[in-house]
Structure formats: structure tokens, C-alpha cells
């Protein structure tokens, strides 16, 4: 049975104006994502994938079109309503970890629960410890960012996004600057989260290693959104090379991607 569509965008367009000049980043972008899907958004630098993610996640108002999430028209909500919507349903992983230097790994997660959800300290602590354990960081819960490796910091950032069990998780280059082992772990975490929490994950990436593990791959090229069907040859828009033979997760892939042209 098909899962329901939880994110539906219609005719999104974005134009940035500066003085008399204006730049169309993309136009008439529509996509439908079902609950629990793990999606990649790819494209060359400057193609507009970050802008599209910002629009879909309620951070940037589009020039045109509409975004419906869980049945709510995101850009018809007032700013406080949209903020509340993000608090309830969205988790984010941005580039660069952005962890508070003074707080331990556990507190980075707790702060989201206590400030965002108003959760009591003891409950927040238990929940945070559970998530850190799932991330393989139980023994690092009391460490501050300076005492963690890059991979560990990225996992804490992911834990911060997932600790409130959001319906959506948006991530920007989560495997950037990670070695294969850590990148593998991050991909598995997203995969498991999408399955276990029925969360929808939308990831911006240039990292080809992620492709075999996702449900859908979107790419922006020349201001248009393309979807690569896993049963069809990869479109040129992706401009990615097959990584299956190089990925440690390759055996899990049921449909290898071929060299794109």
C-alpha cells in the first residue's frame, strides 16, 4: 500500500532581484514526496538546490507556487504559525555542525527538547541518551564539540535534528568532508530513521555514495527539476558517475546507476 503524499509542491518559482536585474533560479518546480521516503536533491553548484530546500522547509518564501506539507499550505501560514509548524514537524542538519561550543553532545540534543518542546529535564535527558546511543555516541555523551571528531560532530548534529522525532528531516551535504566509514554511517542513520520513524528525509548532496541507498533522486538543471527513476537510465542532469562499485554499501543496491553522460 502506498504511503500518503506528505509534501506536495506546485509550480514553485524563485526569482532573485537586485536593482533592475533579476535572476530566475528555477521555475515551475513541482514534486510530490510520500511519507517515509528518503530523497536526494542533486545538482551542480548554483543550480538552486539549497534555495529549493529552503522553500520546501518553510525558510524562504518562493516567488511563485505553493508548498503543501501534511495538508498545510506552508506559505499561507503566518510567520509564527510557520515557525510553530517547523518546530513540530521539521528537523535540520546544516553544513558545518553548528554545535554550541560550551555544551556536551547530550546537551546539544536536550536543548532542542527543552526549549522547543518544553520537555522536563529528566525526560529530555533520557530521550537524548537514547538517540545518542542509536548514533553510536553513548560513550561520548559528556564530550564537548572540541573533544569530538568530525564524524562524531556530524552525528551529534544529526541527532539534534532527529531527537524530536520530526516528520521531516532536511539535510544539507551531511556527508561532506566525512571519510567513507563515517559517510556510510550517516547514510545508514538517515535510512533507518526514514524507515523507523516514518520520517521523510530530503538531502542535498553532491555525494554519489548516497545514491544507491535512497528512494528517489531529484536533480535541478537549467532551472528545471528532474527526477531520476531508479528503473530508468540516469539522466544527464545528475552528472554523477556510478559509485556502486566503489561504495561500501553497494551490495544493498538493487538497481545500479550507470555512468551518466
Amino acid at each position: 500500500m502506498l504511503e500518503p503524499v506528505v509534501l506536495n509542491s506546485e509550480g514553485i518559482g524563485q526569482v532573485f532581484a537586485e536593482g533592475v536585474q533579476s535572476t530566475t533560479v528555477f521555475s515551475d518546480v513541482s514534486l510530490r514526496v510520500r511519507r517515509g521516503e528518503f530523497c536526494l536533491l542533486m545538482g551542480v553548484s548554483g543550480s538552486g538546490k539549497s534555495t529549493l530546500l529552503a522553500i520546501l522547509s518553510g525558510l524562504l518564501r518562493p516567488t511563485s507556487g505553493q508548498v503543501s506539507v501534511l495538508g498545510s499550505d506552508l506559505w499561507r501560514l503566518t510567520e509564527p504559525e510557520r515557525e510553530e509548524f517547523r518546530r513540530k514537524h521539521f528537523g535540520f542538519v546544516f553544513q558545518g555542525h553548528n554545535l554550541f561550543p560550551a555544551l556536551t553532545a547530550r546537551e546539544q540534543l536536550e536543548i532542542v527538547l527543552r526549549w522547543g518542546e518544553g520537555m522536563p529535564a529528566a525526560v529530555a535527558r533520557t530521550r537524548s541518551d537514547q538517540v545518542l546511543a542509536a548514533l553510536g555516541l553513548a560513550h561520548r555523551a559528556d564530550r564537548r564539540p572540541t573533544e569530538l571528531s568530525g564524524g562524531e560532530k556530524q552525528r551529534v548534529a544529526i541527532g539534534r535534528a532527529l531527537v524530536k522525532r520530526p516528520a521531516f528531516c532536511f539535510a544539507d551535504e551531511p556527508t561532506r568532508a566525512l571519510d567513507s566509514k563515517n559517510a556510510d554511517l550517516v547514510v545508514r542513520l538517515f535510512r533507518e530513521t526514514a524507515r523507523r520513524l516514518r520520517s521523510t528525509v530530503l538531502v542535498i548532496t553532491h555525494d554519489e555514495r548516497m545514491i544507491p541507498h535512497v528512494d528517489r533522486v531529484f536533480a535541478i538543471r537549467d532551472g528545471r527539476l528532474h527526477e531520476w527513476s531508479r528503473t530508468a537510465p540516469a539522466p544527464a542532469a545528475l552528472r554523477v558517475r556510478s559509485c556502486v562499485d566503489r561504495s561500501p554499501l553497494a551490495p544493498q543496491v538493487d538497481q545500479p546507476c550507470s555512468e551518466s553522460t
Binding site: F92, F94, G96
Partner: protein, 369 residues
């Protein structure tokens, strides 16, 4: 420990300038105001150290040291059932001629010398009062000896051309506009060449069961002013505070210190908040309301203020001692210290409010590269 306190402790070096600025401001305000209080309390010494409840004088007298003569017959106006006793009191400036020929302005105070005198300062012991009963004798404060150009008890000098002899010394009654010279009514009248039918003040003691404030309005004579002791003391100090440049300049220095503290604190908090903008932006993306982040910045400012106050409290006794050793009159009553603490905390929280503008930088879209 709260996240705010953890942040402050972790980045204590970043917050050190603000903490020092707050301490500096608090110390400056407390010490300047303490010196101001101490200095201008010298003006009202004759009032504060008397036992009179009411001070009667001519209209519009702004300070105890600038009164004009009034008729002694006004005693009749005070002959009321609630008044227990009335007595004259003389106070006026005189020219003290030092033995070396130099002159100094002095404040001559003549009062009754009896044990129940309303005008005699409490420091005049029965022995000193006995000595002052001899015409031409005076008592001065030991701290004013150098100013008066004399060495101590037994020294002679001239005031307004009248020879006087120092019969004793007191402590803690150093004058501001000039040294106080205490003597009997008769000696004062001679020095000041005052008409026997006149006095500078009439002092009165109320019967204890009636508050002096209650009856002051009853004496609504156009040509006469009646003040309670507390009221006249405050009036005298406020006159010196507001009408002389010295008081205002001391206050201005305190306000300037407060402003400098506010500026440094606000800039430090702004920079600290701006340094956490990316972390704040992540929380904003996840829907954590702006007010929650604003509360964090304000809590930071509050704790920086508290740390600064603790530092100031640690330094204050040492500085107060240094100032006192240098001869300045410093008064640090509890209300002044409490008021300074409140003012300083208010200043740091206001600085925090000013630093809140940094939260505009917490834009989650900026994190998407």
C-alpha cells in the same frame, strides 16, 4: 548548571571585559555617590548633630550655612502647647586670621552649652562645654587644625578681629565651606557682632508625642520658615549638590562611568551573541522561538552583571579604605550600595536588550550554502 551559565563559564575570557566594565561602573557609582554623600553631609553637620526637632529661620533659606538674622521675639510665635523648649542658635561665616597673617573662612557656631542644649553638637563633652563657658574660647575639629594654621589646644587666633583661644578639639566635624568653630552664644555674638535682639535660628524641641512634621504647616508666617531637622538637613545637602558645580561634576563622572560600562557590556554581549549566530540559526530553523533566544541573551547579561557586582564587592572595601586614608569623607550606607547594585544590574540588562539586535543575524537560510 543552566545552558547560559555553562556558556558564560566556557567562554569566560570573552566575557571578562564586560564583567570588569560592570565592576568598574558599580565601583565608580558607589564611590562617587559615597564621596558625594560624605562631602555634603559635612554641610549639614550642625543640623544632624543637634537635638532640635525644629529649625526656625527667615524665609527661603536654602542651606544651614546661608541664613540671615531673625528677631529673637519670634520665640513668642512658638509658644505653643506642643513645643517643649525654644532656644537661640547662631551660625555665620567669619574670617579666621591665622597666626601667620593669612585668613581663612570659618563657620562660627554659637549655642547654649547646657546638658539639654538643643544646638550644641553631641561631640561637645561636658568638659568641653565647661571650658567654652569662658568668653573667647572655641573648640575646633582636629582635622581642621592645619587649615586654621594652628597647632592645637591653647592656640590663639582672631575671628573678625576678635581674639579667641582654642580650648579643645573634637573629631568627625570637619567643615566643607570652612572649618567649624564651636563656642558659646555669648562668644559667638561677640565675634559675629550680632544685635542682642537677633539670632540666626531659633531651635525648638517638640513634645515627644507629636510628630514635628505634623505641626510644621501650622506656622504659616510669611516672614518665617520652619523646618524639621531631617528636612533642613536634606535641604542643605541638596542645595550644595544641585547649586554647586562640585556635586554635579561628581555625579556626571558617575553617570559617565555607567555609560562606559553599558557600552562595553553591550558590545561584548553583542559580539558574544553574534558568535553564536549559526547555532542560534539552527534552533530558529527548528522552530525554537526568537523570544527563547532573546531570553538567553538577557540571562547572559544578568549573570555578567552579577559577576561584575561580585568583583566590585570584593574590591570595594580596599578602595574605600584607600579613599578614607587620603582624608576624603566617604559614606556608603546600605541603601546606596543596594541602589548601586540595582542600577548596575539594570544597566547590564539594558545592555543585553541593546545586544538583542544581534539576533537578527540568526537567519537559517544563511546556513544553506
Amino acid at each position: 548548571m543552566s545552558y547560559v551559565l555553562q556558556g558564560l563559564w566556557h567562554e569566560r575570557r570573552r566575557y571578562l571585559p564586560a564583567t570588569c566594565a560592570v565592576a568598574f561602573s558599580a565601583l565608580l557609582v558607589a564611590l562617587q555617590c559615597g564621596m558625594l554623600l560624605g562631602t555634603f553631609s559635612m554641610v549639614s553637620i550642625p543640623v544632624d548633630h543637634s537635638t532640635a526637632d525644629l529649625w526656625v529661620t527667615c524665609p527661603d533659606v536654602v542651606s544651614v550655612d546661608v541664613s540671615r538674622p531673625i528677631p529673637l521675639r519670634w520665640r513668642a510665635r512658638l509658644s505653643l502647647p506642643e513645643i517643649d523648649r525654644i532656644e537661640p542658635y547662631l551660625q555665620a561665616f567669619g574670617i579666621w586670621h591665622k597666626p601667620d597673617g593669612a585668613a581663612e573662612l570659618a563657620i562660627v557656631i554659637g549655642s547654649r552649652l547646657g546638658e539639654d542644649s538643643l544646638g550644641a553638637v553631641s561631640q561637645l563633652t561636658p568638659e568641653l562645654r565647661t571650658r567654652l563657658a569662658e568668653p573667647g574660647t572655641v573648640v575646633v575639629d582636629a582635622a581642621d587644625l592645619k587649615r586654621l594654621g594652628i597647632k592645637g589646644v591653647g592656640a590663639t587666633a582672631e575671628i573678625n578681629g576678635r581674639k579667641v583661644r582654642v580650648a579643645g578639639l573634637v573629631a568627625g566635624l570637619k567643615g566643607l565651606a570652612g572649618p567649624y568653630v564651636f563656642c558659646s552664644l555669648e562668644t559667638a555674638r561677640g565675634i559675629l557682632a550680632m544685635n542682642p535682639a537677633q539670632t540666626t535660628f531659633l531651635l525648638a524641641r517638640h513634645r515627644r508625642e507629636i510628630s514635628p512634621e505634623e505641626n510644621v504647616p501650622r506656622w504659616a508666617f510669611e516672614d518665617m520658615s520652619v523646618f524639621t531637622r531631617e528636612g533642613f538637613s536634606t535641604r542643605s545637602r541638596m542645595h550644595w549638590l544641585l547649586e554647586t558645580g562640585g556635586g554635579l561634576s561628581l555625579l556626571a563622572a558617575a553617570v559617565l562611568g555607567l555609560l562606559v560600562g553599558a557600552l562595553i557590556t553591550s558590545q561584548t554581549l553583542y559580539a558574544a551573541a553574534a558568535a553564536s549566530m549559526k547555532e542560534f540559526a539552527v534552533l530558529r530553523a527548528m522552530g525554537i522561538p526568537r523570544w527563547r533566544l532573546a531570553t538567553t541573551v538577557l540571562a547572559q547579561s544578568f549573570w555578567v552583571g552579577m559577576a561584575g557586582l561580585c568583583l566590585a564587592a570584593a574590591c570595594l572595601p580596599f578602595l574605600a579604605r584607600v579613599i578614607a586614608d587620603r582624608g576624603a569623607n566617604l559614606m556608603l550606607p546600605a541603601w546606596l550600595l543596594g541602589g548601586t547594585a540595582c542600577l548596575t544590574l539594570l544597566m547590564t540588562v539594558a545592555s543585553g536588550l541593546f545586544a538583542l539586535r544581534s539576533l537578527r543575524l540568526a537567519n537559517p537560510v544563511g546556513l544553506l550554502k
